[in-house]
Amino acid sequence: MNLRRDVFQAIADPTRRAILLLVASQAMTAGAIASNFDTARPTVSKHLQILTECELLKQEQNGREMYYHLNPQKIKEVATFIEPFRKLWDDRFDKLESIMKNYKSKK
C-alpha cells in the first residue's frame, strides 16, 4: 500500500524545516543540501524524498544535475489553516469510495 504522506508531519521535523529554509533562497542539488548537515547523506536523501512526495519541493533537471526547489503554491497552502479541513473531507471521501466499491461488487 502506498502510504500517503502527511504535509504537517513533514514540516514537523526540524531537519526538514531547515532543508526548506535552505532551498528557499535558491534551488540546490541533493549534494549541496547534504553538505549543510552533519547527518548522513542517505538520511538527507530520505528527507528530500518525503518533502518531494508532499510536493513541498520540486525536482528539476538541469543538465546532468537534479535541482530541488520550493513549490511556493504548496507552501502557501500549508501556511493556511485549510489543509486539515481538506484532509478531513478527503479522508471521508476516500472511505465513501472504498465502501461503495465493495457495495458494487456485493451487488
Binding site: I82, P84, F85, F93, D94, L96, M100
Partner: protein
C-alpha cells in the same frame, strides 16, 4: 501525488466550494448520500433520521473520545436523484449558525463521477471559524498527546 479533494475558499467570501472526483458510477455516489447505513459508515456518525426527499430532514449523532454526544441536523430542500441535493446543516448546541449546502452530482464517465459541494455560511467570520475547526482539533490532539507523554516522564 494527486490531490483528489479540492477546497476553494476565497478570501473575504462567506462560501466555500469542495470538489472531488470519484472512481464510482454516479448512481453509487448518490446512494452513498441517501442510504442511512452507508452514510453511517463513511461519515462516522450514527444516523438517527434520514428522510431523503424534498421537505425531508436528517439528524446525525456522534460521540467524541470523551463520550460526549454531539448532534447535527438539517432540512432537505431539493433532491433530484443522481443530480443534486440542497440542504441545511446545523451543529446543535453550538454557536455555529446553520449553513446552506448545494451538492451537485455529475457523471464524468460510466465509471467515474464528480461531486461539488457549495457551502454558504452566515458570515465570512462564521466560514473561517468552521474551516478552522479541524485545525483547532488537530492542535488540541497534539497538545493532549504531548501532555500524555510529559505526564509519563514525571
Amino acid at each position: 501525488m494527486e490531490r483528489k479533494t479540492k477546497i476553494n475558499a476565497e478570501d473575504g467570501k462567506q462560501e466555500i466550494v469542495i470538489t472531488r472526483e470519484f472512481d464510482l458510477p454516479i448512481a453509487l455516489l448518490f446512494t452513498a448520500y441517501i442510504n442511512p447505513e452507508i452514510v453511517e459508515q463513511w461519515m462516522g456518525t450514527k444516523v438517527l433520521k434520514l428522510d431523503s426527499k424534498k421537505h425531508g430532514s436528517y439528524q446525525f449523532e456522534t460521540t467524541d473520545p470523551k463520550g460526549n454526544r454531539h448532534y447535527f441536523n438539517g432540512t432537505i430542500h431539493e433532491l433530484v436523484p443522481d443530480q443534486k441535493i440542497t440542504r441545511t446543516f446545523e451543529m446543535e448546541n453550538t454557536s455555529f449558525p446553520v449553513q446552506l449546502e448545494f451538492l451537485s452530482f455529475e457523471k464524468l464517465t460510466d465509471e467515474t463521477s464528480k461531486l461539488t459541494m457549495h457551502i454558504v455560511y452566515k458570515s465570512v467570520a462564521d466560514r473561517d471559524n468552521m474551516l478552522k475547526l479541524p485545525f483547532a482539533q488537530g492542535i488540541n490532539m497534539a497538545h493532549n498527546r504531548l501532555q500524555d507523554i510529559v505526564s509519563k516522564l514525571k
